[in-house]
Symmetry: C2
Subunit: 280 residues, 2 copies
């Protein structure tokens, strides 16, 4: 099988490594608007060749989209317009509703499989690609019935071989869930970084004290706006709902602290502790 | 040197391991109100003997307090009342202002060294103790001039031998800084856990999707209320100030998202990205 990966950054590059490690592709073509990224991906051995998009569409059995979500719907349509009946498009974006709506009436909709592997780091670009990244992580396949069974099987086999449990969801359900377990974490981190940076203007050595707890809550604030701005925009209503709830929780905590409501604070923290059983 | 560690949990236990690893103490006595913790600390080899507090005060050259901050001021006074002129008390709490004020007029104030090693995890108890925990982390010595030079030197030598850079600060300065780089991270995590747990009541499989980003922002929500409630209460005014700023940052973000202010969102995220140069 010949695979073309469009967008050879953190996700596309890591996926290329996974394909190689599991012998899933005879040749990997790389497509990237950013010439430096394309050259670096080649140097790093993530892809075998760098080609223009047209050539990739012409030659690849599987075309993988690993680009910012804002660009996925239009590019999906453009590629669907051109592919042959035996080709498959697999996209790896973090939002699903807008894409699935845009492509819903396309006569070749079935050739696209909408997926979201639940892995990422705060870094981006081909240098950020990691071997073994996806193994053990869950992958969502959104609107599975909208894809042709043969196309879906191809993609499912790839993810299963990489060692990823598959969950099936509707696009709407997916976007609600990811707002809660991924998108809000990023907003919280961005806001926390800004809170602390506001303070830094006054005092310089504050950060010598930063321990592991601070690092872990704030590390997502290093994430690229190119990746995350379109995710927040596409998932705006879900993100706003979660953000409202999160701000509410912080306000409740603040009011309890203001009133020295130690019983309330303790109950709140104990309730939050039950996240243990979910994480472990 | 004979050392007594009062509170053989995450911090006290890890400190005991550090003393052993660096040959800093001939014998380590353990004191803990919780009989199970004391027994477990002995089984784990964290301490050589478990003794009542009185015996520890009588025998130890160095008495280390590693208990919740709410209990530190009173216990410090009680021990200061009893110690001989050559003994040293070292406390390892996360807040300093209340303690330093309470003990400020004690005629033996100089025998106590107020320290805060900038390390911790979300776990507690003797089982949570880790070897090598403190090495490479900064330690704050608060109000260094209030301690006798000989007492301070003893403590400084221990921390230097463990490999911890030392920062000197006034108590007030310490509590402001830690509110920003430690206490707020915990509140954010608690609130994030509650936000997501609110949602979980409706949908069960949401957590199968939780990736590494979620885990890292929410892991501090597993922290013990016994440790953190007294920290928040003792550092109430600083924590409230940071909390107000953090809620404000989240509200600004929300308003920009509501208004599709992509330029503002991008600028905000780019500004937050500058936390990189601080973390790396």
């Amino acid at each position: 099988m010949k695979t073309a990966i469009v967008g050879i950054g953190l996700i596309g590059g890591s996926f290329a490594l996974a394909l190689r490690d599991h012998g899933l592709s005879d040749e990997i073509l790389g497509v990237d608007q950013n010439i430096d990224h394309a050259r670096r991906a080649l140097e790093l051995g993530l892809v075998d060749r760098v080609t223009p998009l047209e050539e990739a569409i012409d030659q690849a059995d599987l075309i993988v989209l690993a680009i910012p979500v804002g660009a996925i719907p239009m590019l999906s349509i453009r590629i669907l317009n051109k592919i042959r009946a035996d080709q498959v498009i697999m996209e790896m974006g973090s939002t699903k509703q807008e894409l699935c709506e845009i492509i819903s009436m396309h006569p070749r909709r079935g050739r696209l499989v909408a997926t979201h592997p639940m892995w990422g780091t705060e870094y981006s670009g081909p240098e950020a690609a990691l071997p073994g990244a996806f193994t053990g992580r869950t992958v969502v396949i959104a609107e599975p019935e909208a894809s042709d069974p043969q196309a879906r099987e191809l993609v499912e086999n790839i993810y299963r071989t990489i060692g990823m449990p598959i969950k099936y969801m509707e696009a709407e359900e997916h976007d609600t869930h990811t707002a809660y377990i991924s998108h809000i974490s990023h907003i919280t981190s961005f806001a926390l970084a800004l809170t602390v940076l506001e303070k830094e203007r006054e005092t310089s050595h504050i950060f010598d004290l930063a321990g592991a707890g601070f690092e872990s809550t704030v590390r997502l604030a290093k994430s690229s706006p190119d990746t995350w701005l379109p995710i927040f925009m596409q998932n705006k209503y879900n993100v706003l709902e979660v953000l409202r709830e999160h701000i509410h929780q912080l306000q409740v905590f603040r009011r309890m602290l203001e009133r020295d409501d130690t019983a309330g604070l303790r109950a709140t923290m104990e309730k939050a502790n039950s996240i243990r059983k979910i994480l472990e």
